[in-house]
Protein backbone atom coordinates (compact mmCIF):
# COMPACT_ATOMS: atom_id res chain seq x y z
CA UNK A 1 0.00 0.00 0.00
CA UNK A 2 1.43 3.36 -1.02
CA UNK A 3 1.12 5.88 1.78
CA UNK A 4 1.69 9.62 2.16
CA UNK A 5 5.21 8.97 3.40
CA UNK A 6 6.23 7.30 0.16
CA UNK A 7 5.19 10.36 -1.79
CA UNK A 8 6.92 12.73 0.61
CA UNK A 9 10.15 10.75 0.40
CA UNK A 10 9.90 10.71 -3.39
CA UNK A 11 9.43 14.47 -3.52
CA UNK A 12 12.29 15.05 -1.09
CA UNK A 13 14.56 12.90 -3.26
CA UNK A 14 13.48 14.85 -6.35
CA UNK A 15 14.18 18.13 -4.54
CA UNK A 16 17.68 16.95 -3.62
CA UNK A 17 18.37 15.75 -7.16
CA UNK A 18 17.18 19.11 -8.46
CA UNK A 19 19.35 21.15 -6.09
CA UNK A 20 22.34 18.90 -6.81
CA UNK A 21 21.78 19.36 -10.53
CA UNK A 22 21.54 23.15 -10.27
CA UNK A 23 24.77 23.26 -8.32
CA UNK A 24 26.83 20.88 -10.47
CA UNK A 25 25.56 21.06 -14.07
CA UNK A 26 27.77 23.02 -16.42
CA UNK A 27 25.27 23.32 -19.23
CA UNK A 28 22.48 25.90 -18.93
CA UNK A 29 19.91 23.48 -20.35
CA UNK A 30 20.90 20.99 -17.66
CA UNK A 31 20.35 23.61 -14.97
CA UNK A 32 16.96 24.44 -16.47
CA UNK A 33 15.98 20.79 -16.35
CA UNK A 34 17.06 20.53 -12.72
CA UNK A 35 14.90 23.54 -11.86
CA UNK A 36 11.94 21.83 -13.53
CA UNK A 37 12.59 18.78 -11.32
CA UNK A 38 12.32 21.02 -8.22
CA UNK A 39 8.97 22.34 -9.48
CA UNK A 40 7.74 18.79 -9.98
CA UNK A 41 8.79 17.81 -6.47
CA UNK A 42 6.53 20.61 -5.26
CA UNK A 43 3.66 19.34 -7.37
CA UNK A 44 3.95 15.83 -5.97
CA UNK A 45 3.93 17.26 -2.46
CA UNK A 46 0.86 19.38 -3.10
CA UNK A 47 -1.19 16.64 -4.72
CA UNK A 48 -0.18 14.00 -2.19
CA UNK A 49 -1.03 16.22 0.79
CA UNK A 50 -4.32 17.03 -0.88
CA UNK A 51 -5.19 13.38 -1.43
CA UNK A 52 -4.18 11.96 1.94
CA UNK A 53 -4.68 14.79 4.45
CA UNK A 54 -7.48 16.93 3.04
CA UNK A 55 -9.47 14.66 0.68
CA UNK A 56 -12.55 16.94 0.73
CA UNK A 57 -10.71 19.98 -0.62
CA UNK A 58 -9.21 20.59 -4.03
CA UNK A 59 -6.89 23.47 -3.16
CA UNK A 60 -3.69 21.42 -3.45
CA UNK A 61 -4.57 20.23 -6.94
CA UNK A 62 -5.57 23.72 -8.02
CA UNK A 63 -2.29 25.07 -6.73
CA UNK A 64 -0.39 22.35 -8.61
CA UNK A 65 -2.07 23.37 -11.87
CA UNK A 66 -0.99 26.97 -11.32
CA UNK A 67 2.55 25.80 -10.59
CA UNK A 68 2.63 23.86 -13.85
CA UNK A 69 1.32 26.85 -15.81
CA UNK A 70 3.78 29.32 -14.35
CA UNK A 71 6.67 26.87 -14.70
CA UNK A 72 5.81 26.66 -18.39
CA UNK A 73 5.78 30.46 -18.68
CA UNK A 74 9.13 30.61 -16.96
CA UNK A 75 10.58 27.91 -19.19
CA UNK A 76 9.53 29.86 -22.29
CA UNK A 77 11.33 32.97 -21.12
CA UNK A 78 14.32 30.93 -19.98
CA UNK A 79 14.73 29.11 -23.28
CA UNK A 80 14.52 32.34 -25.25
CA UNK A 81 17.23 33.83 -23.04
CA UNK A 82 19.32 30.72 -23.63
CA UNK A 83 18.86 31.26 -27.37
CA UNK A 84 19.95 34.89 -27.02
CA UNK A 85 23.11 33.98 -25.18
CA UNK A 86 23.88 31.20 -27.62
CA UNK A 87 23.69 33.64 -30.53
CA UNK A 88 26.11 35.98 -28.78
CA UNK A 89 28.55 33.46 -27.37
CA UNK A 90 28.14 30.22 -29.39
CA UNK A 91 28.31 28.15 -26.23
CA UNK A 92 26.05 27.17 -23.34
CA UNK A 93 28.64 26.26 -20.72
CA UNK A 94 28.28 28.38 -17.64
CA UNK A 95 32.00 28.80 -17.00
CA UNK A 96 32.29 30.66 -20.31
CA UNK A 97 29.62 33.16 -19.27
CA UNK A 98 31.96 35.31 -17.22
CA UNK A 99 32.34 38.87 -18.46
CA UNK A 100 30.55 40.37 -15.47
CA UNK A 101 32.42 39.88 -12.23
CA UNK A 102 34.04 41.67 -9.34
Amino acid sequence: MVSLHHYLVLSAILLIIGIYGVLTRRNIIGILMSIEIIFNATNINLVAFNHYCYPRAIWGQGFAIFVITLAAAEAVVGLSLVLAIYRNLKTLYVERINILKG
Binding site: L81, I85, L89, I97, I99
Partner: protein, 480 residues
Protein backbone atom coordinates in the same frame (compact mmCIF):
# COMPACT_ATOMS: atom_id res chain seq x y z
CA UNK B 1 -17.91 38.90 -6.49
CA UNK B 2 -18.63 42.35 -7.95
CA UNK B 3 -17.11 44.00 -4.90
CA UNK B 4 -14.02 41.81 -5.18
CA UNK B 5 -13.53 42.89 -8.76
CA UNK B 6 -14.15 46.53 -7.92
CA UNK B 7 -11.38 46.40 -5.33
CA UNK B 8 -8.91 45.28 -7.97
CA UNK B 9 -9.65 48.06 -10.47
CA UNK B 10 -6.09 49.50 -10.62
CA UNK B 11 -4.57 46.08 -11.35
CA UNK B 12 -7.19 45.18 -13.94
CA UNK B 13 -6.88 48.56 -15.65
CA UNK B 14 -3.09 48.38 -15.86
CA UNK B 15 -3.12 44.79 -17.16
CA UNK B 16 -5.54 45.85 -19.88
CA UNK B 17 -3.31 48.76 -20.83
CA UNK B 18 -0.27 46.47 -20.91
CA UNK B 19 -1.98 44.11 -23.35
CA UNK B 20 -3.15 47.04 -25.46
CA UNK B 21 0.41 48.41 -25.66
CA UNK B 22 1.64 45.00 -26.76
CA UNK B 23 -0.92 45.00 -29.57
CA UNK B 24 -0.03 48.56 -30.50
CA UNK B 25 3.46 47.37 -31.35
CA UNK B 26 2.18 45.21 -34.18
CA UNK B 27 1.36 48.36 -36.15
CA UNK B 28 3.47 48.93 -39.25
CA UNK B 29 3.87 52.70 -39.00
CA UNK B 30 6.45 54.04 -36.58
CA UNK B 31 4.14 57.00 -35.93
CA UNK B 32 1.54 54.74 -34.33
CA UNK B 33 4.15 52.88 -32.29
CA UNK B 34 5.28 56.19 -30.83
CA UNK B 35 1.84 56.57 -29.24
CA UNK B 36 2.76 53.90 -26.70
CA UNK B 37 4.74 56.40 -24.63
CA UNK B 38 2.00 58.99 -23.98
CA UNK B 39 -0.62 56.27 -23.51
CA UNK B 40 1.51 54.50 -20.91
CA UNK B 41 2.24 57.72 -19.02
CA UNK B 42 -1.36 58.85 -19.07
CA UNK B 43 -2.72 55.52 -17.87
CA UNK B 44 -0.16 55.35 -15.06
CA UNK B 45 -1.25 58.81 -13.89
CA UNK B 46 -4.86 57.70 -14.14
CA UNK B 47 -3.95 54.74 -11.94
CA UNK B 48 -3.17 57.14 -9.06
CA UNK B 49 -6.78 58.23 -9.26
CA UNK B 50 -8.00 54.61 -9.28
CA UNK B 51 -5.88 53.77 -6.24
CA UNK B 52 -7.16 56.88 -4.50
CA UNK B 53 -10.85 56.13 -5.02
CA UNK B 54 -10.74 52.37 -4.45
CA UNK B 55 -12.50 51.14 -1.33
CA UNK B 56 -10.91 48.99 1.35
CA UNK B 57 -11.76 45.36 1.86
CA UNK B 58 -10.78 41.77 1.21
CA UNK B 59 -10.82 40.65 -2.38
CA UNK B 60 -11.36 36.94 -3.22
CA UNK B 61 -10.15 36.10 0.32
CA UNK B 62 -6.61 36.48 -0.92
CA UNK B 63 -5.88 40.16 -1.25
CA UNK B 64 -6.37 42.80 1.42
CA UNK B 65 -6.88 46.25 -0.02
CA UNK B 66 -6.10 48.49 2.94
CA UNK B 67 -4.35 51.83 3.59
CA UNK B 68 -1.05 49.98 3.86
CA UNK B 69 -1.35 48.42 0.41
CA UNK B 70 -2.54 51.74 -1.05
CA UNK B 71 0.65 53.36 0.23
CA UNK B 72 2.87 50.82 -1.50
CA UNK B 73 0.72 50.86 -4.62
CA UNK B 74 1.18 54.61 -4.87
CA UNK B 75 4.93 54.16 -4.47
CA UNK B 76 5.07 51.47 -7.15
CA UNK B 77 3.10 53.49 -9.69
CA UNK B 78 5.18 56.57 -8.90
CA UNK B 79 8.42 54.67 -9.46
CA UNK B 80 7.05 53.19 -12.67
CA UNK B 81 6.24 56.70 -13.95
CA UNK B 82 9.73 57.90 -13.05
CA UNK B 83 11.31 54.93 -14.86
CA UNK B 84 9.19 55.58 -17.97
CA UNK B 85 10.30 59.23 -17.88
CA UNK B 86 14.02 58.51 -17.45
CA UNK B 87 14.01 55.89 -20.20
CA UNK B 88 12.16 58.02 -22.77
CA UNK B 89 15.31 58.75 -24.82
CA UNK B 90 16.87 55.30 -24.49
CA UNK B 91 17.65 54.00 -27.98
CA UNK B 92 17.48 50.30 -27.06
CA UNK B 93 14.39 50.28 -24.89
CA UNK B 94 12.32 52.88 -26.72
CA UNK B 95 13.78 52.18 -30.16
CA UNK B 96 12.12 49.56 -32.32
CA UNK B 97 9.58 48.17 -29.88
CA UNK B 98 8.53 50.79 -27.35
CA UNK B 99 5.22 49.01 -26.81
CA UNK B 100 6.84 45.76 -25.73
CA UNK B 101 9.13 47.53 -23.31
CA UNK B 102 6.38 49.62 -21.74
CA UNK B 103 3.95 46.75 -21.47
CA UNK B 104 6.53 44.55 -19.73
CA UNK B 105 7.36 47.39 -17.35
CA UNK B 106 3.69 47.88 -16.52
CA UNK B 107 3.06 44.14 -16.10
CA UNK B 108 5.93 43.91 -13.69
CA UNK B 109 4.45 46.80 -11.71
CA UNK B 110 1.09 45.03 -11.66
CA UNK B 111 2.87 42.10 -10.01
CA UNK B 112 4.15 44.44 -7.33
CA UNK B 113 0.65 45.88 -6.89
CA UNK B 114 -0.64 42.38 -6.21
CA UNK B 115 2.22 41.67 -3.84
CA UNK B 116 1.44 44.77 -1.82
CA UNK B 117 -1.82 43.25 -0.64
CA UNK B 118 -1.11 39.50 -0.41
CA UNK B 119 -2.89 37.48 2.24
CA UNK B 120 -2.13 34.04 0.89
CA UNK B 121 0.97 32.11 -0.13
CA UNK B 122 -0.66 31.25 -3.42
CA UNK B 123 -1.06 34.91 -4.32
CA UNK B 124 2.47 35.54 -3.09
CA UNK B 125 3.78 32.98 -5.58
CA UNK B 126 1.70 34.31 -8.49
CA UNK B 127 2.54 37.93 -7.68
CA UNK B 128 6.26 37.23 -7.43
CA UNK B 129 6.23 35.43 -10.77
CA UNK B 130 4.31 38.26 -12.39
CA UNK B 131 6.92 40.69 -11.09
CA UNK B 132 9.99 38.68 -12.05
CA UNK B 133 9.15 37.09 -15.41
CA UNK B 134 8.87 40.49 -17.20
CA UNK B 135 12.06 41.53 -15.41
CA UNK B 136 13.91 38.52 -16.87
CA UNK B 137 13.00 39.73 -20.35
CA UNK B 138 13.70 43.38 -19.57
CA UNK B 139 17.19 42.71 -18.21
CA UNK B 140 18.02 40.90 -21.45
CA UNK B 141 16.36 43.54 -23.62
CA UNK B 142 19.57 44.57 -25.40
CA UNK B 143 19.75 41.21 -27.11
CA UNK B 144 22.73 42.00 -29.31
CA UNK B 145 24.87 42.79 -26.28
CA UNK B 146 26.55 39.90 -24.52
CA UNK B 147 26.56 41.78 -21.21
CA UNK B 148 22.80 42.14 -21.21
CA UNK B 149 22.17 38.49 -22.14
CA UNK B 150 24.56 37.36 -19.46
CA UNK B 151 22.85 39.53 -16.85
CA UNK B 152 19.49 38.13 -17.88
CA UNK B 153 20.55 34.50 -17.81
CA UNK B 154 22.17 34.86 -14.39
CA UNK B 155 19.09 36.57 -13.02
CA UNK B 156 16.85 33.99 -14.61
CA UNK B 157 18.68 30.95 -13.23
CA UNK B 158 18.79 32.37 -9.72
CA UNK B 159 15.21 33.63 -9.91
CA UNK B 160 13.75 30.36 -11.14
CA UNK B 161 15.77 28.33 -8.64
CA UNK B 162 14.68 30.50 -5.72
CA UNK B 163 11.05 30.25 -6.84
CA UNK B 164 11.40 26.47 -6.82
CA UNK B 165 12.82 26.45 -3.29
CA UNK B 166 10.13 28.81 -2.05
CA UNK B 167 7.39 26.70 -3.64
CA UNK B 168 8.66 23.61 -1.88
CA UNK B 169 8.36 25.48 1.40
CA UNK B 170 4.84 26.56 0.51
CA UNK B 171 3.84 22.99 -0.29
CA UNK B 172 5.05 21.89 3.14
CA UNK B 173 3.05 24.72 4.73
CA UNK B 174 -0.01 23.53 2.83
CA UNK B 175 0.51 20.02 4.11
CA UNK B 176 0.83 21.16 7.72
CA UNK B 177 -1.89 23.81 7.83
CA UNK B 178 -4.38 22.57 5.25
CA UNK B 179 -4.51 25.98 3.63
CA UNK B 180 -2.07 28.50 2.28
CA UNK B 181 -3.81 31.49 3.80
CA UNK B 182 -1.71 33.55 6.21
CA UNK B 183 -4.42 33.39 8.86
CA UNK B 184 -4.42 29.58 8.72
CA UNK B 185 -0.68 29.64 9.33
CA UNK B 186 -1.14 31.95 12.31
CA UNK B 187 -3.79 29.63 13.76
CA UNK B 188 -1.46 26.72 13.28
CA UNK B 189 1.29 28.45 15.25
CA UNK B 190 -1.10 29.18 18.11
CA UNK B 191 -2.43 25.61 18.19
CA UNK B 192 0.76 23.59 18.02
CA UNK B 193 3.07 24.39 20.81
CA UNK B 194 3.26 20.64 21.60
CA UNK B 195 4.34 18.27 18.83
CA UNK B 196 8.06 18.83 18.28
CA UNK B 197 8.34 16.94 14.97
CA UNK B 198 5.73 19.12 13.31
CA UNK B 199 7.40 22.20 14.64
CA UNK B 200 10.72 21.25 13.06
CA UNK B 201 9.01 20.71 9.73
CA UNK B 202 7.19 24.01 10.06
CA UNK B 203 10.40 25.91 10.75
CA UNK B 204 12.05 24.11 7.83
CA UNK B 205 9.19 25.24 5.57
CA UNK B 206 9.54 28.83 6.79
CA UNK B 207 13.27 28.72 6.14
CA UNK B 208 12.67 27.42 2.60
CA UNK B 209 10.31 30.34 1.99
CA UNK B 210 12.71 32.80 3.56
CA UNK B 211 15.58 31.53 1.41
CA UNK B 212 13.42 31.96 -1.68
CA UNK B 213 12.48 35.50 -0.70
CA UNK B 214 16.06 36.18 0.35
CA UNK B 215 17.28 35.41 -3.16
CA UNK B 216 14.73 37.82 -4.58
CA UNK B 217 15.61 40.54 -2.10
CA UNK B 218 19.35 39.68 -2.39
CA UNK B 219 19.99 39.28 1.31
CA UNK B 220 23.56 38.41 1.96
CA UNK B 221 24.35 34.79 1.56
CA UNK B 222 22.09 34.87 -1.52
CA UNK B 223 23.24 38.11 -3.13
CA UNK B 224 25.91 37.12 -5.68
CA UNK B 225 23.71 37.58 -8.74
CA UNK B 226 22.72 41.18 -7.93
CA UNK B 227 25.85 43.16 -8.94
CA UNK B 228 26.22 41.23 -12.20
CA UNK B 229 22.60 41.68 -13.17
CA UNK B 230 22.63 45.36 -12.21
CA UNK B 231 25.75 46.01 -14.24
CA UNK B 232 24.67 44.13 -17.36
CA UNK B 233 21.07 45.29 -17.71
CA UNK B 234 20.15 48.50 -19.54
CA UNK B 235 20.45 51.28 -16.92
CA UNK B 236 16.75 52.30 -16.68
CA UNK B 237 15.95 48.65 -16.02
CA UNK B 238 18.59 48.58 -13.30
CA UNK B 239 16.85 51.54 -11.71
CA UNK B 240 13.51 49.77 -11.93
CA UNK B 241 15.06 46.62 -10.48
CA UNK B 242 16.41 48.31 -7.41
CA UNK B 243 12.97 49.66 -6.67
CA UNK B 244 10.21 47.31 -7.68
CA UNK B 245 11.69 44.01 -6.60
CA UNK B 246 12.66 45.37 -3.25
CA UNK B 247 9.25 46.92 -2.65
CA UNK B 248 7.32 43.74 -3.35
CA UNK B 249 9.38 41.47 -1.18
CA UNK B 250 9.58 43.92 1.71
CA UNK B 251 5.82 44.31 1.78
CA UNK B 252 5.41 40.54 1.86
CA UNK B 253 7.90 40.26 4.69
CA UNK B 254 6.05 42.98 6.61
CA UNK B 255 2.72 41.33 6.11
CA UNK B 256 3.78 37.83 6.93
CA UNK B 257 6.82 37.77 9.17
CA UNK B 258 6.07 40.86 11.23
CA UNK B 259 3.35 38.93 13.03
CA UNK B 260 5.60 36.40 14.57
CA UNK B 261 8.82 38.27 14.89
CA UNK B 262 8.05 38.49 18.60
CA UNK B 263 6.61 35.02 19.00
CA UNK B 264 8.60 32.22 20.46
CA UNK B 265 9.40 30.45 17.22
CA UNK B 266 12.81 29.25 18.25
CA UNK B 267 15.64 30.89 16.41
CA UNK B 268 13.66 32.68 13.72
CA UNK B 269 14.24 36.11 15.19
CA UNK B 270 17.94 35.45 15.73
CA UNK B 271 18.15 34.16 12.18
CA UNK B 272 16.64 37.42 10.90
CA UNK B 273 19.01 39.49 13.01
CA UNK B 274 22.00 37.59 11.68
CA UNK B 275 20.81 38.04 8.08
CA UNK B 276 20.34 41.76 8.64
CA UNK B 277 23.80 42.28 10.12
CA UNK B 278 25.46 40.21 7.37
CA UNK B 279 23.53 42.00 4.62
CA UNK B 280 24.46 45.48 5.80
CA UNK B 281 28.10 44.71 6.43
CA UNK B 282 28.91 42.66 3.35
CA UNK B 283 26.98 45.06 1.08
CA UNK B 284 28.86 48.08 2.37
CA UNK B 285 32.31 46.51 2.45
CA UNK B 286 31.95 45.15 -1.09
CA UNK B 287 30.79 48.57 -2.29
CA UNK B 288 33.99 50.19 -1.01
CA UNK B 289 36.22 48.97 -3.80
CA UNK B 290 33.83 49.28 -6.75
CA UNK B 291 34.85 51.53 -9.62
CA UNK B 292 31.74 51.00 -11.76
CA UNK B 293 28.87 53.17 -10.59
CA UNK B 294 26.16 50.66 -11.45
CA UNK B 295 27.96 47.98 -9.45
CA UNK B 296 28.51 50.38 -6.59
CA UNK B 297 24.82 51.26 -6.49
CA UNK B 298 24.01 47.54 -6.66
CA UNK B 299 26.05 46.82 -3.53
CA UNK B 300 24.62 49.90 -1.87
CA UNK B 301 21.12 48.62 -2.65
CA UNK B 302 22.02 45.37 -0.86
CA UNK B 303 23.21 47.39 2.13
CA UNK B 304 20.03 49.48 2.10
CA UNK B 305 17.92 46.33 2.01
CA UNK B 306 19.75 45.29 5.17
CA UNK B 307 19.04 48.62 6.85
CA UNK B 308 15.36 48.44 5.91
CA UNK B 309 15.33 44.99 7.46
CA UNK B 310 16.26 46.45 10.86
CA UNK B 311 12.80 47.97 11.02
CA UNK B 312 11.29 44.60 10.23
CA UNK B 313 13.32 42.72 12.83
CA UNK B 314 12.38 45.33 15.45
CA UNK B 315 8.82 44.13 14.95
CA UNK B 316 6.92 47.09 16.42
CA UNK B 317 4.67 49.76 14.91
CA UNK B 318 7.49 52.28 14.78
CA UNK B 319 9.55 49.74 12.82
CA UNK B 320 6.75 49.27 10.32
CA UNK B 321 6.46 53.02 9.82
CA UNK B 322 10.24 53.20 9.51
CA UNK B 323 10.22 50.57 6.77
CA UNK B 324 7.57 52.51 4.85
CA UNK B 325 9.39 55.82 5.19
CA UNK B 326 12.73 54.27 4.29
CA UNK B 327 11.26 52.55 1.23
CA UNK B 328 9.84 55.83 -0.05
CA UNK B 329 13.15 57.60 0.53
CA UNK B 330 15.14 54.78 -1.06
CA UNK B 331 12.85 54.77 -4.12
CA UNK B 332 13.38 58.44 -4.79
CA UNK B 333 17.11 58.65 -4.15
CA UNK B 334 18.04 55.47 -5.95
CA UNK B 335 15.95 56.36 -9.01
CA UNK B 336 17.47 59.83 -9.01
CA UNK B 337 21.04 58.57 -8.76
CA UNK B 338 20.45 56.09 -11.57
CA UNK B 339 18.94 58.85 -13.72
CA UNK B 340 22.17 60.85 -13.43
CA UNK B 341 24.17 57.71 -14.28
CA UNK B 342 21.97 57.32 -17.38
CA UNK B 343 22.75 60.85 -18.56
CA UNK B 344 26.49 60.34 -18.12
CA UNK B 345 26.55 56.92 -19.74
CA UNK B 346 24.52 58.12 -22.72
CA UNK B 347 27.03 60.87 -23.42
CA UNK B 348 30.27 59.21 -22.42
CA UNK B 349 29.40 55.54 -23.02
CA UNK B 350 30.83 54.59 -19.66
CA UNK B 351 29.60 54.15 -16.11
CA UNK B 352 33.02 54.05 -14.49
CA UNK B 353 33.94 56.48 -11.74
CA UNK B 354 36.43 58.11 -14.13
CA UNK B 355 33.55 59.29 -16.33
CA UNK B 356 32.21 61.35 -13.42
CA UNK B 357 35.41 63.28 -12.86
CA UNK B 358 35.01 67.02 -13.12
CA UNK B 359 31.27 66.86 -13.72
CA UNK B 360 30.73 69.96 -11.58
CA UNK B 361 32.84 72.12 -13.92
CA UNK B 362 31.04 71.00 -17.05
CA UNK B 363 27.46 70.83 -15.84
CA UNK B 364 26.96 72.12 -12.33
CA UNK B 365 23.19 71.48 -11.94
CA UNK B 366 23.61 67.80 -12.77
CA UNK B 367 26.46 67.41 -10.27
CA UNK B 368 24.41 69.26 -7.67
CA UNK B 369 21.43 66.93 -8.16
CA UNK B 370 23.73 63.92 -7.83
CA UNK B 371 25.10 65.47 -4.64
CA UNK B 372 21.58 65.67 -3.21
CA UNK B 373 20.87 62.04 -4.02
CA UNK B 374 24.20 60.83 -2.63
CA UNK B 375 23.83 62.84 0.58
CA UNK B 376 20.35 61.43 1.00
CA UNK B 377 21.62 57.90 0.33
CA UNK B 378 24.27 58.27 3.00
CA UNK B 379 21.66 59.59 5.44
CA UNK B 380 22.79 63.13 6.11
CA UNK B 381 20.22 65.21 8.07
CA UNK B 382 18.36 67.69 5.92
CA UNK B 383 17.40 64.99 3.40
CA UNK B 384 14.72 62.34 3.39
CA UNK B 385 17.17 59.42 3.68
CA UNK B 386 18.06 60.61 7.16
CA UNK B 387 14.47 60.32 8.40
CA UNK B 388 14.25 56.78 7.07
CA UNK B 389 17.37 55.74 8.96
CA UNK B 390 16.28 57.66 12.05
CA UNK B 391 12.92 55.87 12.27
CA UNK B 392 14.39 52.45 11.64
CA UNK B 393 17.07 52.87 14.29
CA UNK B 394 14.61 54.36 16.75
CA UNK B 395 12.40 51.29 16.32
CA UNK B 396 15.35 48.99 17.02
CA UNK B 397 16.20 50.96 20.18
CA UNK B 398 12.58 50.69 21.28
CA UNK B 399 12.84 46.90 21.00
CA UNK B 400 16.18 46.97 22.85
CA UNK B 401 18.25 45.62 19.96
CA UNK B 402 21.35 47.64 20.65
CA UNK B 403 23.77 45.39 18.76
CA UNK B 404 21.74 45.89 15.61
CA UNK B 405 21.76 49.67 16.06
CA UNK B 406 25.50 49.72 16.68
CA UNK B 407 26.24 47.69 13.56
CA UNK B 408 23.81 49.83 11.58
CA UNK B 409 25.47 53.07 12.66
CA UNK B 410 28.95 51.74 11.90
CA UNK B 411 27.72 50.75 8.46
CA UNK B 412 26.30 54.21 7.82
CA UNK B 413 29.77 55.59 8.47
CA UNK B 414 31.34 53.15 6.00
CA UNK B 415 28.70 54.07 3.42
CA UNK B 416 29.57 57.77 3.65
CA UNK B 417 33.07 56.94 2.41
CA UNK B 418 32.07 55.42 -0.89
CA UNK B 419 29.28 57.87 -1.60
CA UNK B 420 31.66 60.75 -1.04
CA UNK B 421 34.24 59.13 -3.28
CA UNK B 422 31.81 59.96 -6.09
CA UNK B 423 31.25 63.48 -4.76
CA UNK B 424 35.03 63.96 -4.59
CA UNK B 425 35.42 62.83 -8.19
CA UNK B 426 32.63 65.14 -9.37
CA UNK B 427 33.68 68.30 -7.56
CA UNK B 428 37.43 68.17 -6.93
CA UNK B 429 38.97 66.40 -9.90
CA UNK B 430 39.81 67.55 -13.40
CA UNK B 431 37.69 66.10 -16.20
CA UNK B 432 39.44 63.46 -18.29
CA UNK B 433 40.40 65.05 -21.57
CA UNK B 434 39.69 62.40 -24.16
CA UNK B 435 36.11 61.86 -22.97
CA UNK B 436 33.23 63.78 -24.54
CA UNK B 437 32.43 66.83 -22.40
CA UNK B 438 28.97 67.00 -20.83
CA UNK B 439 27.09 69.88 -22.51
CA UNK B 440 25.57 72.66 -20.39
CA UNK B 441 22.20 72.14 -22.00
CA UNK B 442 21.19 68.49 -21.85
CA UNK B 443 18.17 68.66 -24.12
CA UNK B 444 16.36 65.91 -22.21
CA UNK B 445 13.13 67.35 -20.91
CA UNK B 446 11.46 64.29 -19.42
CA UNK B 447 14.62 63.06 -17.73
CA UNK B 448 15.22 66.49 -16.22
CA UNK B 449 11.64 66.63 -14.96
CA UNK B 450 11.93 63.18 -13.34
CA UNK B 451 15.26 63.89 -11.67
CA UNK B 452 14.22 67.34 -10.54
CA UNK B 453 10.97 66.01 -9.13
CA UNK B 454 12.75 63.28 -7.16
CA UNK B 455 15.27 65.79 -5.78
CA UNK B 456 12.47 68.21 -4.93
CA UNK B 457 10.56 65.55 -2.97
CA UNK B 458 13.71 64.46 -1.12
CA UNK B 459 14.48 68.03 -0.07
CA UNK B 460 10.90 69.03 0.63
CA UNK B 461 10.00 65.98 2.73
CA UNK B 462 13.44 66.07 4.32
CA UNK B 463 12.96 69.57 5.67
CA UNK B 464 9.23 69.36 6.37
CA UNK B 465 8.57 65.68 7.14
CA UNK B 466 5.38 66.25 9.21
CA UNK B 467 2.93 65.80 6.34
CA UNK B 468 4.64 62.66 5.11
CA UNK B 469 4.87 61.12 8.56
CA UNK B 470 1.17 61.87 9.11
CA UNK B 471 0.35 60.07 5.89
CA UNK B 472 2.52 57.10 6.83
CA UNK B 473 1.03 56.88 10.32
CA UNK B 474 -2.39 56.80 8.70
CA UNK B 475 -1.36 54.02 6.32
CA UNK B 476 0.52 51.82 8.76
CA UNK B 477 -2.40 49.75 10.11
CA UNK B 478 -3.62 46.99 7.88
CA UNK B 479 -6.47 44.55 7.64
CA UNK B 480 -5.87 41.18 9.32
Amino acid sequence: MILSIKLLLPEIFLSGIAIFLLLLDTAKEVQIKRWAYPIALFSLFFCFFLIGVSEHGISFQMLAIDPFSSFFKTLTVLSCILVVLISSKDSILMGEQPGVYLSLLILSSVGTLFLSSVQDFFMLFVGLELTTIPLFILSGFAKKELKSSEAAIKFFLVGAFSTGIMLYGISLIYGLCGSTHFSAVREYINLTSGIPQDKTLFILALIFILVGLGFKLSLVPFHQWTPDTYEGSPTPITAFFSVSREAGVIVVMLRFFNDFANQSLIGLNEFFTLLTILTMTVGNIAALKQENLKRLLAYSSIAHAGTIFIGLVAGNTLGREGVMLYSLAYFLMSLGAFAVVIVISQIRKSEELLAFQGLARQNFPLAFLMLIFLMSLSGIPPFLGFWGKFYVFAAAIQSKMFVLVAVGLLNSVIAVYYYFKIVHAMFFKEPIENLTPIPKNLNQTSLTIATGFAAFLILCFGIFPEQLICWIKGSAPFLP
